[in-house]
């Protein structure tokens, strides 16, 4: 497989990984909700509505404490997509050092991605509905 990497790509890989690690450390030092610090969701601030990402910081915090069920209640999409994102990151690293990457697990079809966009939109709408069972999708759950 030919390599067409830009020269700065390994740096980008390291920076991305370092950023992810830094985010985890930050969450452990400043638990979400327990302190005033932390990233804010502009969408929530402006509209008061939950976007598909709302609760992912709290979900990551729960995952760091190996509390998968609680993480799911904070943001189910995040819990499902986080392993996939890690997989993509690992594959990226393997390709950079010239090793055979693991199966890409990226759909080649268009319909799969359209379905993902639709599912995310539905998720964004449903989690803002105040009735059961949809409110289970909101961060924090019942």
């Amino acid at each position: 497989m030919s390599i067409h990497h830009k020269p700065h790509e390994p740096v980008l890989w390291v920076v991305t990984g370092a950023g992810a690690v830094a985010a985890c450390v930050f969450l452990l030092v400043f638990p979400p909700g327990a302190s005033a610090y932390g990233p804010v969701c502009g969408f929530y601030r402006l509209t008061g509505l939950y976007c598909p990402g709302c609760g992912s910081s709290r979900a990551l915090y729960q995952l760091l404490h190996v509390n998968v069920a609680a993480a799911f209640r904070c943001n189910p999409f995040f819990v499902l997509i986080a392993p996939w994102l890690v997989w993509q990151y690992v594959n990226w690293g393997l390709r950079l050092v010239g090793m055979e990457s693991l199966p890409a697990l990226r759909p080649r079809s268009a319909w799969a991605l359209y379905a993902l966009a639709a599912a995310l939109t539905v998720f964004a709408v449903l989690r803002n509905l105040p009735w059961w069972p949809f409110n289970l999708l909101a961060p924090g759950g019942p």
Binding site: V40, F43, P52, F78, I81, L85, R108, S109, L113, A117
Partner: protein, 119 residues
């Protein structure tokens, strides 16, 4: 190029393979491997989770378009969709970063103002 019948190396403008005599014009050109193009799917998903709602989903839609156009053989269209996906990723990331910076600055100003009032 190569003769499909015997594998001999043959000059590109040959009409006939000098080794086995198979006609060169009749042979199909080598098939190029399926095009791979960056569709920014991973970036779009990260932007959807971290940053600004509509732009992340828009980026995913354009990533879907890249896949569709690649499969249809529309390379130019796929590249155009990839550029749009990339643009929406950057917009979402930029807005998310800007909002966080504004909040940090406002919080810092509030802290400074309250400590100033106590002096």
């Amino acid at each position: 190029m190569y003769c499909n019948a015997c594998g001999a190396t043959v000059p590109d403008d040959s009409m006939q393979c000098p080794e086995c005599g198979a006609p060169m014009r009749a042979q199909a050109r080598p098939v190029s491997p399926p095009m791979k193009m960056k569709n920014y799917l991973v970036e779009s998903i990260v932007v959807t989770i971290c940053c600004c709602l509509p732009f992340g989903i828009a980026a995913i839609v354009f990533a879907a378009q890249v896949n569709g156009k690649l499969q249809a053989g529309d390379i130019a269209g796929a590249q155009d969709a990839a550029n749009k996906a990339k643009m929406f990723c950057w917009i979402g990331f930029g807005i998310g970063l800007l909002v966080n910076l504004i909040v940090i600055i406002v919080q810092a100003l509030a802290v400074m103002a309250s400590s100033g009032a106590q002096m």
